[in-house]
Amino acid sequence: MAEKVYKGTGISNGKVSGKIRIFKSGGQAARGIYRGKAQELRRLDNARALALEQIRALEKKALATLGEKEAQIFEIHAMLVEDEDFMGSVIEEINGGKCAEEAVEITARGYGEMLGSLGDEYLAERKTDIMDISNQLIRILQGGVSQNEGEMDEKYILVALDLTPSQTVQLDADKILGFVTAEGTPSSHTAILARAMGIPALVGVGTVDGLNDGDFALLNAEKGVLVACPSEKEIKEFEKEKSAFNKIAKEHEMYLRSVMNKPAVTRGGHRVMIYANIGSEGEVSPALSNGAEGIGLLRSEFLYLSRDTYPTEEELFSSYKEIAVKMQGKRVIIRTLDVGADKQIPYFNLPREENPALGYRAIRVCLDREDVFKAQLRAILRASVFGHVAIMLPMVISLDEIEKSKELLEECKRELLTQGQSFDSKIEVGIMIETPAAALMSHSLAKEVDFFSVGTNDLTQYTIAVDRQNPNVAHLCEKNTEPVMRLIKMSSEAIHQEGGWIGVCGEMAADLSLTQQLVNMGVDELSVSVPYLLGVRGKVSECR
């Protein structure tokens, strides 16, 4: 087999070798490369014909085994695949420059929302039918089998067009040696995930065509290269480099581990708390074993993903409690739900938006959906007696939002009191500084909260008007850190004046070239994903 070379941006320096596994979308986000209108329409036509065949086969099977009534649903599916309105809209999307997969997905979501808006209890059934055929079409378009078929026993290098957050959470992390994605930038979800898991990845390789399930490949994240079907000689050289690399990495890690349990203090005497960003219970132990002094950002979305209905207060409570207990009195900052924008959860039925980053998300959604928000606040309050728990509100732009959230929090406290439930009555409340508005208003916001935590990813995006998912402009973020630094400085001064403290939990916190600057501005806490904990701790103690 001929050798194939793919180049992209390497994430988390490392080298791995193993077999490739192509990730087939379960239909969540179907993105692909636009091959031109005529070809997309032809692909759609073929997929439609094949889908009809499959549906007819299923119908026959259902008729034989289940009976006429059950088989009828496939008749509906067949009609949907042939429906003029449905297909008309798909074709319109293709004419508008979308690839067939995406056109199907957009249309399905649009109809799903429309049917949902009718407020009928049977909407669930209707929506499922539409999602079903949409998934089926997308699967055919991507030439794939369903996700769960052909599980591999050995570890593999996962190859995908791109991964959505909900897809990434469903992956079996123990099986993955590395990631390769056609799309994505160093700040895309796949990259963030790869960093969080400490495994090498390659993003933005352009195309993954030509890679097949089971191909042996060498992934060199340092050089940003993937070699599929390499020669014997190349494999030998690679393995040699790999073990040399691993040896150096191991030595460095041993040194860092030896200082792991000492507080991180700069040479100038400034104490910095080193906290971990986590997105699930499973990351608590690794965080602790890498010296985390607390959880600086618990992304609470994980309890809402991969399911069809809202989690109950009990479910939320038991998970928060478990984390609080495991952290043994170390601070756990739970960021309340940040849904919307690029983090969609189907059952929230959030409308599709032209400009989601500036749209209906995070605290904006929570303040509207009091029942959802209050269930979370109550769960956090109840968990607070099992450790040191703090609340953090995302995407704040005004005092008003803090006041409203605190009112709801007080309401929850009163309810819990009357029910005889205990909680930490002095629970800390903080906000994310991730909008320029919050930084500019930090003097008044600081009076209302105990702490700030700077979400540098969004703050950068909103400050310098760069979409970090857009490969054409993403690089502008890397060079242009000064505007964001000024906003951090402003916020730091404001909160310190009120006797509070400030942390940084975005990607910048893990960027060792910025540590000195952050320390200079008086940042009290750096919260990073687990693999960065040791490195950041080491860097702080080298700072002036």
């Binding site: 009828q72 649903i73 008749e75 509906i76 009609m79 949907l80 429906d83 003029e84 309105d85 449905f86 109809y111 429309m114 049917l115 009718l118 407020g119 009928d120 049977y122 059934e125 209707r126 039918d129």
Partner: protein, 88 residues
């Protein structure tokens, strides 16, 4: 042009399955078949269009049939509504 009205007695309303059956039947005629409910109009031969009416239990459907086989279509559709959309 023929018209008739039917009040949905199926407590599930005009959901996917009955809408599908209705559309299948409507397609067997040449006539144009318009279905109106709650101020919205749908093409009786199109499933999604019918589903979009969101017609529930006890909603009145107004059928307007026009074309060469309208008489035949009227009879068949009336019969269909009587037997299939009556909440058996």
């Amino acid at each position: 042009m023929k018209e008739f009205r039917h009040i949905i007695k199926d407590k599930n309303g005009l959901h996917a399955r009955p809408a599908g059956m209705l559309a299948t039947l409507a397609r067997s005629f040449e006539s144009d078949i318009k279905v109106e409910a709650g101020g919205k109009a749908a093409d009786g031969k199109r499933l999604l269009s019918l589903m979009s009416l969101g017609a529930r239990y006890e909603t009145e459907l107004k059928f307007t049939i026009s074309g060469s086989d309208e008489e035949l279509a009227l009879r068949a559709l009336t019969e269909h509504c009587r037997t299939k959309l009556n909440g058996e």
